[in-house]
Subunit: 414 residues, 2 copies
């Protein structure tokens, strides 16, 4: 008998029929003897409908009132799902974030969870009750309704699992797990049975948008085993857990991540003096622009260097004009920029113990005549910036080079 | 400077435009220096939409979960109205029933208010804030969401007015006040400037569906001056208050109420013995059928009597079959029944000091050759049951006999 926290997103509870399907699954688990806490989002489309209502009243709605408004979305779902569970003969009880109570700070719209009371939930579980909790919401110490920001239902699920010391937090979504890379780009992309929190963070932040990063961080911090599964297809999904649980003979690389969200900026020929990096990035940061990769080459013989960094493509124009305005003052010879780039990364905790992973990557790209513009590495990933037109080719080449493809598919392809 | 509680029903907040109009009115009152607590219902149609959702999940939804579901309706309105008020530069803050907190018993779907905390509201009012409260809802002592039943927003308005000792509770609705009778039946029906709580109760329970009876009782009990006004037309509305406030020279009759909701049943020739009434009405009450008028004539020379009562027309069939099943055992000679009846009543606290009001009523009906089937009287009303086809005629005759018509209209009609 396990204690499971199951989180169902907006698509999984998007219609009454889908809510019924969720109730069927919860019923099945309950019959198997598991204790269940269900966390649900608003029915898909509802949150946007509420936002549109607010927009029709004012262009700058108060954040406090926005939370009062949006939190009704999940409240509708918890009531309907509880009813559906009770019709199946289960004892179920719904709770809003404020009823549980999930205490947050008062940062309306992006509140952080501070404390979760588990006493009442424990009593419910002991009584054999299914708990149906509203995701995405809480209340501050004064009882003001808060929301955790979009996608915050994942965070609610993980937080409840951590607070209740659940055996697993299961995130039901519209994909059946985490893949070695995007199956729309690589046919032979394979579902991973297991992945570590760190790998998942790198995969998620690099563009595999399955789980909210924050919920993965949270799960890692409290060591809550996290499983991504499909609401619509039966299967084991992907278990996200600590490294220790992974097989000893794991491959060096677990997956290939990629995105087209970035743009590259270079300040050429700046004097290579102490403090130059902060004099360049200071104004960028003051403009609230987040920087991702930063590369500075060694100095030329004339004592100057080239300084390159990437920003989100949405902030490209602003970053470029900021850079143009400071280049003269910094004595740069030229400002170069390119938004037509892609970032491709190999991710895997196995890199720690496998030498030569980066050079395998570079060799595979070279074999396809793909030029590497920037390189950035961390302990468990290597990222490169390339021309965006080669992105799919690069992903397929790397997927194949690191033998990530599904075995069955590989055989059929030979 | 007055403290006003203004309650706006579902039609008054049915669209974003109407919510804007409510915000304009609140703004105007606030500019005039009044302190305002606004109580709102769900946008019209929303509650039914939520009920339909629940019905599509289960035929017998849990009352607790139904309250969780339905309470979202008002929560949406309080957020939107607060935003609209803030856009007008007012400081506004929304509260759900549970946030206020309005403590109720745990009778989900028909909860009774037990206690209202006013401390936080007082602080808000002192700070110049407009309070926007969700009507119809509260929470029990454990924080479970409860609702007061349909129309319960009126009750919330009156209860907040009583708790805050407001100068007036204004109920904004789609009619501009309480009329001497239904203007659709009598052209010259006139809006009453004032009416007593008792009269309003008799008018409401007899079919003038403007205010929830319970809220009038509540207002009467706590002596909260209640005003019915239109959301759509400017005007003074009708003030419902204690008798002392009415003019000394008030007319004997204030209004004419009527309905077609009842059916009449008679047990003929039952032995006139002690306990016979309870032997007849016991089984009716056991079947959960509510009885309105009860008339028993004096005994005939043979020691038998006829026993007549009325029930709601919806429960007519059930009442009739109950009566048929006990008539033999009670020794009745016959069961008579008639669903084609109407009840017409004259209402007025003036009756207390005016003799002959009832006989004026009977004379007016006789002048139109309308036969009276049953009569029932209380201190401030006289009700008669007549053939339903004469209902409109009777109402017009009585409206004219007691000179209730609008003076201007009367002149134009001559």
């Amino acid at each position: 008998m396990a204690l499971l926290v199951q989180k169902y997103g907006g698509t999984s509870v998007g219609t009454v029929e889908r809510i019924e399907a969720v109730a069927d699954r919860v019923f099945k688990h309950k019959q198997q003897g598991d204790d269940i806490v269900v966390v649900v989002s608003a029915m898909s489309g509802e949150t946007n409908k509420l936002i549109d209502l607010a927009k029709s009243v004012t262009t700058s709605p108060s954040a406090r009132e926005m939370d009062v408004l949006l939190s009704t979305g999940e409240q509708v779902t918890i009531a309907l799902l509880s009813m559906a569970l009770m019709r199946r003969g289960l004892d179920a009880r719904s709770y809003t974030g404020s009823q549980i109570r999930i205490t947050t700070d008062n940062a309306h719209g992006k509140a952080r969870i501070q404390k979760i009371d588990t006493e009442a939930m424990r009593a419910d579980l002991d009584a054999g009750r299914v708990i149906v909790a509203a995701g995405f919401q809480g209340a501050d110490e004064f009882g003001n309704i808060t929301t955790l920001g979009r996608g915050g239902s994942d965070t609610t699920g993980v937080a409840l699992a951590a607070a209740l010391k659940a055996d697993e937090c299961q995130i039901y979504t519209d994909v059946d797990g985490v893949y070695t890379t995007d199956p729309r780009v690589v046919d032979s992309a394979r579902r991973l049975d297991k992945i570590t929190f760190e790998e998942m963070l790198e995969m998620a932040s690099l563009g595999s948008k399955i789980l909210q990063i924050r919920s993965v961080e949270f799960a890692g911090k409290y060591q809550v085993p996290l499983r991504v599964l499909s609401s619509f297809v039966e299967g084991e999904g992907t278990l996200i857990t600590t490294e220790g649980n992974k097989s000893m003979e794991q491959p060096a690389v677990s997956g290939i991540a990629f995105n087209r969200d970035e743009a590259k900026l270079t300040l050429k020929g700046v004097p290579d003096l102490p403090g130059i990096a902060s004099r360049i990035l200071g104004p960028i940061s003051d403009a609230n622009i987040e920087v991702d990769m930063i590369v500075q080459n060694i100095s030329s013989v004339d004592g100057t260097t080239d300084f390159t960094f990437t920003v989100h493509r949405n902030e490209y124009d602003q970053a470029l004009s900021t850079l143009n305005s400071i280049s003269e003052e910094l004595g740069a010879t030229e400002v170069l920029s390119d938004a037509k780039i892609a970032k491709v990364s190999i991710v895997g905790v196995g890199m720690r113990s496998h030498a030569g992973v980066a050079s395998s990557m570079f060799r595979a790209l070279a074999a396809e005549s793909i030029n590497i513009q920037l390189i950035s590495t961390s302990e468990i990933k290597v990222s490169v910036i390339i021309d965006e037109k080669y992105m799919e080719l690069a992903v397929r080449a790397l997927h194949s080079a690191f033998k990530l493809g599904d075995c069955v598919n590989d055989v059929s392809e030979t």
